[in-house]
């Protein structure tokens, strides 16, 4: 676990530092390349060493071979010397030796250090009688071979007969006494030619051939390329028979370097490219990493913002569990609207604080949301505040899941519209009031226009007739009619006066009145009619019921309803009238079993002025109109239920 964490840490460290990582990769690869190049260098070097060693060995062996052949020749020559110290058949042997040994340019016999016999004589005449033991420039090497009694190759030196060559001298002893030398001359040119020095590929290597001068003790070089090669790579072989030193020198000091420089540069470039590549490909993740970090920061900020919005919003916001309706999260405003604390709300669901009348609608909408029929819904609903009062809210619910996912949570936004609702309610009430008043006003103007005009039009016609009346009878008839019109006009004016007085009377005296007593009172007033129709009046109002009302109005209302009920009783049955009072709604019910009213036809006109619905000569269509006006003036209302031939029930809501 901790290893894993460390690993993540390390990889993160590297991931966020592409340049460093690139450099590290570069350095690592450079090291690797260096190592490989080094390895290769040593291999190449070893190869060269081996190659040069092979070449020098071959040449060395060639030298040895030449010297051996020379030695054999000198020995053969030495054999030709008889016991008296005289060479026999020199002229025969010498040519044979020369012919069989391509490397030998000339043979000599040098008795007592003086060259006496030379073959071929042509070109070598100058060497004859040359006393080598007494010539300072050559005696040292000659004496050396006498001393060692072994063949010794002197030179390369300038030959008496011209040119440069080496002279191999075999000291010959006769009867243990030094006789002289058997010598061969090899021209340097020939020596080098035969040794194979010249046949070697000289692009890579070249030979040098040296000897330490016995007189000057300085090393002298004999091959043409006489440069200082001490700083170059070389190998040596020593030929002891002539104290010669053979050098094989690598021609190019930097050859090996050039071989590895290419791969080094290549390797370096490769490492560099790799390093850059790693850096560049890692820059992307680093960039992404940076972006991720930026995004995370943004998300954090956004979350903070949203949280602030959620908490500070001037509307109530709640996150609600889809299936149960439980509150998962609520903001302060929501708490304020419903009056519960956050912890209280988290224990309940929305159904528990919803007004029972609105619960069904809300649950139904939630169901549709859950089923995916809708994505959101807006309803106006009532909440029950913790204190018990009703709070109106405009609720917007949206789902918090994608359409292809399972329903989980919803977000609800609740705006407190209680005041708005109250204002609306008040507005509605005042609108109702205004439209009601308007209706009454219209009704009144209609009354005025209709009822008064019907009289005035009659008067107009009558006056027209009066003008054209020819006989007294006619005139009297018209005056009689005019009196009638005048009387009914007067009645209309009285009624209108009464209505106007009700409507204009704003400061009505209101006092607690015993309803039961007032009903009894009305019964007494109408006792004559009641007796006439033998009606049964059941005053079922509790004697304790007290209502706040205007005395005159209550009397008038009760008288009107009771007299109506008696007047419009069904002649086929005994009239029965019930007075009941509902304490809860403050409503008085007056139920009769009279002829009833067709409410479908006449419902609207029931309380209009001069509206009558039957042929009863007493009906003037003014009673209910006045009653209605009185009830309205007291702020109450009236409700009618009726069925033809069964009876009518008026319900008076006092307030």
């Amino acid at each position: 676990m901790s290893f894993k964490r460390t690993w993540i840490k390390i990889s993160k460290w590297f991931l966020t530092r592409p340049n460093t990582t690139g450099t590290l990769v570069f350095l690592f690869l450079l090291l690797l390349v260096g190592f490989v190049v080094g390895l290769r260098y040593s291999v190449v070097k070893e190869n060269r060493r081996r190659e040069m060693s092979n070449i020098i060995n071959v040449v060395h062996q060639n030298f040895q071979q030449i010297l051996k052949n020379t030695y054999t020749a000198t020995l053969t020559l030495a054999m030709s010397i008889n016991d008296e110290g005289e060479p026999e058949n020199f002229t025969k042997i010498a040519p044979k030796l020369i012919n069989s040994n391509a490397c030998i340019d000339a043979v000599q016999l040098v008795p007592n250090g003086v060259i006496k016999y030379v073959y071929p004589i042509d070109g070598n005449e100058a060497a004859l009688n040359y006393d080598i033991l007494h010539t300072s420039s050559v005696q040292k090497e000659a004496r050396k071979s006498i001393k060692t009694k072994l063949i010794y190759f002197a030179g390369p030196l300038k030959l008496k007969q011209g040119g440069v060559g080496v002279v191999g001298r075999l000291p010959v002893f006769k009867k243990n006494k030094f006789w002289g030398f058997s010598a061969v001359i090899i021209k340097l040119e020939t020596l080098f030619k035969m040794s194979g020095i010249q046949s070697i590929d000289d692009t890579k290597y070249y030979f040098q051939f040296s000897k330490v001068n016995p007189y000057t003790h300085k090393e002298e070089f004999f091959l043409p390329k006489k440069e200082d090669f001490s700083r170059k790579y070389f190998q040596t072989a020593i030929i002891p028979d002539g104290d010669w030193k053979l050098y094989l020198i690598a021609r190019d000091k930097n050859g090996l370097f050039y071989q590895i420089i290419t791969s080094s540069i290549l390797g370096f470039l490769l490492s560099l490219i790799c390093g850059l590549w790693v850096a560049s490909i890692m820059k992307k993740p680093a960039k992404l990493q940076l972006q991720v970090y930026e995004q995370a920061k943004k998300i954090f900020h956004t979350e903070l913002e949203f949280k602030t919005i959620f908490e500070q919003a001037p509307v109530g916001i709640a996150r609600v569990e889809m299936h149960t309706g439980n509150f998962l999260e609520v903001n302060d405003e929501f708490c304020r609207i419903v009056g519960y604390t956050e912890s209280e709300l988290k224990k309940i669901n929305f159904q528990e604080i919803t007004h029972p009348e609105d619960a069904e609608q809300d649950v139904n909408c939630m169901y549709q949301l859950k089923k995916g029929f809708i994505n959101e819904f807006t309803i106006e609903k009532r909440y029950i505040h913790k204190s018990g009062k009703i709070v109106w809210g405009n609720l917007i619910v949206s789902k918090l899941w994608k359409s292809d996912r399972k329903p989980v949570n919803t977000i609800a936004i609740i705006e407190d519209i209680t005041e708005k609702k109250q204002a609306e309610e008040a507005l509605k009430k005042s609108f109702e009031l205004v439209s009601d008043q308007n209706k009454r006003l219209l009704n009144f103007s209609y009354i005025v226009s209709h009822n008064l005009r019907s009289h005035t039009s009659n008067i107009e016609i009558i006056s027209g007739f009066l003008e054209t009346a020819q006989t007294k009878e006619e005139r009297d008839e018209m005056i009689e009619l005019l009196k009638k019109v005048s009387a009914s006009l007067n009645e209309t004016m009285v009624n209108l006066n009464e209505v106007v007085s009700i409507r204009t009377n704003v400061n009505l005296k209101i006092e607690p009145l015993n309803l039961y007593d007032y009903i009894e009172n009305a019964k007494t007033v109408l006792s004559e009619q009641i007796d006439k129709k033998q009606a049964a009046i059941h005053n079922m109002v509790a004697p304790t019921v007290v209502i706040n009302y205007n005395t005159a109005y209550l009397e008038s209302i009760l008288l009107n309803f009771l007299s109506n009920a008696i007047r419009y009783s069904d002649p086929n049955r005994k009239p029965e009238i019930f007075f009941t009072f509902d304490e809860k709604t403050k409503a008085l019910k007056i139920k009769d079993n009279g002829i009833g009213i067709d409410l479908v036809k006449n419902g609207e006109k029931l309380f209009g002025m001069y509206k009558t619905f039957n042929n009863n000569p007493d009906s003037k269509g003014i009673g209910l109109f006045i009653t209605k006006n009185q009830i309205d003036a007291m702020g109450g209302r009236i409700q009618t239920e009726s069925e033809l031939n069964k009876g009518t029930t008026f319900t008076i809501y006092f307030k």
Partner: protein, 134 residues
């Protein structure tokens, strides 16, 4: 006995009396029959039809009446006597001068015209002449 009939449907007894007098003075060839409301008129019409007699040529109809008002009467006519009143010209004669009433009258194709009270013999003659022409 004249063979043409004007039918007055109005609840105002004084008006009934006066209109009778006006028609009589107009010297038309029409008889006058009167009803206090729409219901009475309808009942009388169905009786007439039973006896295979013709309906009145002209009806002067008031709007405001108890039991059955003018509108109700029109609705009933449309409902049950539509075919039978083709030859009957119905005029509204009301004391109402309300715009709504005049407009409402136009919604009934059977109503030929609207007159506000008072009505005089000139108007009666106008109506009868119009009927005779058509």
């Amino acid at each position: 006995m004249k063979n043409k009939v004007i039918c007055i449907i109005d609840d105002d007894p004084i008006y009934q009396l006066l209109i009778n007098k006006i028609i009589a003075m107009s010297k038309t060839e029409y008889d006058v029959i009167s009803f206090k409301n729409g219901k009475e008129a309808l009942e009388s019409f169905s009786e007439t039809l039973k006896e295979n007699k013709k309906l009145p040529e002209i009806i002067l109809l008031d709007i405001e009446m108890p039991i059955m008002d003018g509108w109700d009467f029109m609705n009933q006519i449309e409902k049950s006597l539509a075919e039978k009143t083709k030859k009957t010209a119905i005029y509204i004669v009301s004391s109402s001068i309300a715009y709504e009433d005049k407009e409402k009258a136009k919604t009934f194709p059977e109503i030929m015209g609207y007159f506000s009270k008072p009505i005089d013999s000139n108007k009666i003659l106008e109506i009868t002449k119009h009927i005779t022409k058509s």
